[in-house]
């Protein structure tokens, strides 16, 4: 039977969920909530949310009280003090922070953007076995001895045989009392996935552009994690040269070099060849840049994409962020050559408000 408090909690979660959906665009375009990300939860500030509370009727105003004081003694505010505090000059806020599981956030994102669920390409190819300790057996190694069960068996035997003394409660297990944890092996198909994020960190990519990339990749990551268990992520930054970095460096590094997008694609190709057999892995390569590529490099990029990357990828996503100088031409080069390719998704992000549409463009193919 569902208890009333559980119903209330569910109701509260529905309200929170509704509010997040309502303001999803705002949450998508503001990065502050990402900074509050825990391992599995994200703290989301929800203003003006009416949280459930008790309401008293008129009859609740009177009643009998206890404590010091005589009958008829007035109960009211005390004497005014001579404090010198000053009133604040900003409006009071009623911000409630709610912890929302990342999985639920991904679900909301999927519903709101009508994202199709991803069909992993290799689920049936790989069968993984998992051992789970679910039972108890009479034999096993000492390292798996179930102390509590063993103790109970010994106690029961001593009580039934009359050798147990309440005054001297010493329990000595014998061999027949020993119980061990036993595992059960199960087999299930496994879909392994890796996302390779690539970002242009050349001089023309400013802080605002990187922030947009950070926000967008957080949401893409959240969605992909909800679709695959234990997804791997790799990060590549590039200007004229590319190198692999960790997540922290990915979003904070800045180089002064020119833009040579092909350097990142080459490294991505090497990474896949070295670590991710394409028959077993669902591979996503997502690239963010302002598109200000050196002109003669576009052709090299297209060649690497066509011959090296696209045949091995579930999805290649390219999102072009507008820089203070406008938008580069690389997106046009890709659009003119690759827009009809099934596993290519292209989008443009003029500003933060366009993040939502960009995510939909990148993930809307359900690959």
């Amino acid at each position: 039977m569902v208890q009333k408090i559980e119903r209330d909690v569910n109701r509260f979660r529905q309200i929170v969920r509704g509010r997040i959906k309502q303001d999803l665009r705002k949450y998508l375009s503001h990065g502050e909530m990402i900074g509050k990300q825990g391992r599995d939860l994200v703290s989301i500030p929800l203003p003006q949310l009416d949280i459930p509370h008790f309401r008293y009727g008129d009859k609740g105003n009177g009643g009998v009280s206890s404590g010091e004081g005589e009958d008829g003694q007035p109960v009211g505010p005390g004497q005014q003090g001579d404090g010198n505090g000053q009133a604040g000059n900003s409006p009071g806020g009623h911000i409630l922070e709610v912890d929302v599981p990342l999985a639920e956030l991904a679900e909301i994102l999927g519903e709101e953007l009508e994202l199709p669920r991803i069909q992993p390409k290799s689920a049936e190819n790989i069968i993984v076995t998992k051992d789970k300790y679910t039972g108890v057996s009479r034999t096993g190694p000492d390292s798996l001895r179930h102390f509590k069960r063993t103790y109970k068996r010994a106690l029961r035997r001593q009580i039934t045989s009359g050798s147990y003394s309440a005054d001297n409660p010493i329990i000595v297990p014998i061999k027949e009392d020993q119980r061990y944890r036993s595992s059960k092996t199960s087999e299930h198909p496994d879909a392994r996935a890796v996302v390779i994020y690539m970002m242009d960190v050349s001089g023309s990519m400013g802080d605002e552009q990187k922030e947009i990339v950070r926000i967008e990749s957080f949401w893409i990551d959240t969605w992909l994690r909800s679709q695959y268990e234990g997804i791997e992520t790799r990060y590549i930054v590039h200007d004229a040269d590319a190198h692999e970095v960790d997540e922290h460096t990915f979003f904070r590094t800045r180089e002064s070099g020119g833009t040579m997008i092909s350097s990142a694609y080459k490294l991505c190709q090497q990474m896949i060849a070295a670590d991710y057999p394409t028959a077993e892995w669902n591979i996503y390569a997502l690239h963010f840049s302002d598109g200000d590529n050196w002109a003669d490099d576009d052709a090299v990029c297209l060649q690497i994409l066509r011959e090296g990357l696209l045949p091995n990828l579930n999805l290649f996503g390219y999102a072009q962020v507008n820089s203070p100088y406008g938008s580069g031409r690389f997106l046009d080069a890709l659009r003119s050559r690759l827009s009809l390719v099934e596993n290519v998704a292209l989008s443009e992000i003029p500003d933060r408000d366009a993040i939502l549409e960009s995510i939909k463009a990148l993930l809307g193919k359900g690959r």
């Binding site: 023309s204 004229a240 020119g258 050196w294």
Partner: protein, 167 residues
Amino acid sequence: MSLTETVHRLVVERTPFHDQLQPIVARDEGITLRCDLNSAESVGCTLSQIDLVDASKSSLSMDELVHWAEFICGRVTYLLEPLQLIELDGRHGIALVRSRRPQRKKDQIAYYELIADKNHHASLRRYRYDMTNRDRGSVPFPLTHEQLEVLVDDLVESAKSIHGSHA
């Protein structure tokens, strides 16, 4: 006659003219300066491009290229926006200098772009990016005659300030 004086004389000789491209080329001590003028009148002129090549030297190192680009950014402070070094391409030996704060009006962004390369070639243009059709094109930029003289002076001085290996 210095390059600045030559350029000034050539502009004055052609003034006034409107809406026609008139290239002016001046040479002195191995340095060639070319201005593509679009119009000129008594107060000033509009240029679509100004180019400088120092043929007396070649092969700047990256450090020298940076020094050159930064020298120009530090000296050329009288344009519509100050300049800053944006990118350095070591592979091609190119420094990209642009307006620090591009001018934004409605759907258009305008900024200066100066490309300096290791072969002692610097080229200054002004670009306008149109956000509606996502197109970038070069546009003429105005300078008074005095500004043009100072700009030519500064570019020539910047070229002379860097060493490079003699050709």
